[in-house]
């Protein structure tokens, strides 16, 4: 470590296997610093970095950065940030915060974080498959079983003419009686990840559309490769509202690093 570096305190969290470095020691962060923090050999190692600070209008501000330094909204990352705000004593069990895509509300019940997602107006289709944007764009394909290798079929979709420029996340989903089983390929990572909160949310909404469900309230458990999540929402004439992504967010360790 060089004398030029600044030593920061950080916390490492995971939400159903999606893992994050969280710090409130800095808020402005460079791409180079993000890439170092996320490097699993030469840094701490994470899917993304979250910087947080207190805010006067809401409880806190957070920014999420992918491991490559790009910005996005991240459902699992936001859930971890909410749990960390409670750990820091910034909030009790209810909060509102600003993230990359605007304001969100969240609550903590029985160690589970209920994160309110933005409304989804419509769900598109592509043949038998579905397309929805829940903060990130998602392609959802329902299948009878999940293939051993999801990366090859996901890349066919993600690098197809329609999506190759902007990229898209690809979800393969099996609808079971008691839960959805899901595996997700994430753009940016360009590989399968253990869990993707926005993908889980998009898939439950797509299942509602596919099943031609008649009721307005919908709740489903979702089995990801990294653990269990749940999604609830209300379908109104305006689309999908009061969408909640619900699941655990766990502090794994804390530490100090020079960046």
């Amino acid at each position: 470590m060089y004398s030029m570096t600044k030593k920061i305190h950080f916390y490492k969290y995971q939400g159903t296997g999606n893992d994050f470095v969280i710090t409130s020691d800095i808020y402005q962060i460079t791409t180079q610093q993000i890439q170092l923090l996320c490097d699993r050999k030469f840094g701490i190692g994470a899917d993304g970095v979250i910087v947080m600070k207190k805010d006067s209008s809401v409880d806190f501000d957070m920014m999420y950065y992918n491991a490559d330094g790009s910005e996005s909204f991240c459902g699992n990352g936001s859930r971890c940030a909410v749990m960390h705000a409670k750990f820091l004593g910034w909030i009790s069990d209810q909060c509102s915060f600003n993230s990359n895509d605007g304001q969100h509300e969240a609550s903590i019940n029985n160690e589970l974080v209920n994160l309110k997602m933005h409304d989804v107006i419509e769900v598109g289709s592509s043949g038998q498959d579905f397309i929805a944007n829940t903060g990130s764009p998602h392609y959802i394909r329902f299948q009878d079983t999940l293939n051993l290798d999801i990366v090859s079929p996901a890349k066919e979709i993600r690098y197809s003419n329609e999506f190759k420029e902007e990229g898209i996340n690809v979800n393969f989903v099996v609808s079971k009686d008691d839960s959805l089983q899901i595996r997700t390929y994430e753009r940016g990572v360009e590989d399968e990840t253990l869990s993707c909160g926005t993908g889980v949310t998009a898939s439950v909404i797509a299942e509602y559309v596919k099943s031609q469900h008649s009721g307005s309230d919908y709740y489903r458990k979702v089995e990801t490769e990294g653990g269990m999540l749940a999604v609830s929402f209300t379908k109104t004439e305006l689309g999908f509202q009061n969408i909640y992504l619900i699941g655990p967010a766990v502090q794994v360790f804390s530490g100090e690093i020079g960046i």
Copy 2:
């Protein structure tokens, strides 16, 4: 984290991209604890765990465990342990320590750790290729260039009838004027790693044999995927002696975790 867990302080090191969790808070460690510490999503994430304690007969004792909990000697891991012993104030620039395979000596010069490896009595051959044991068994194949995919040819060797039971590490090596270029497939990991200290050592010894070098002293720089190492030794009638593995060992961060 559960109330049953014990909180330990740890340090994360890397030596040419080979990364380790080091602690002196505990010395007895279970396979389950090792696997948790090495898990890159639900733990800290590392290629292996090193536990260290002071010793009355040598400067310190260390034990190295692979991510799966198995024991072995690890050249890069031992170099990191030496650097950490200096950081802790247990040693200055010279030391002797006990590791999984017995006693070693080491010194630190200009931030590089010179680790004395055990003598190698003989080098075997398999067709045009070489086999040497430098604490771990290594297969060494010299090539004109390095393939993009080394995993497939490495697996052919590692899972061949001769080696499939015990396993073997497989090194592909290009001899260049100013250095050896090397890529290593490690058994246990069953994949390519960024750097393998015992593989680097075995490869330089194999090059000595292959090149029918006439002098007794040999020194070579080695370019791994994770950075530069060097190996020196003296060839005597008894085999290869005073073998040193030389390279950087860097503390990346420190932290606390409940295990």
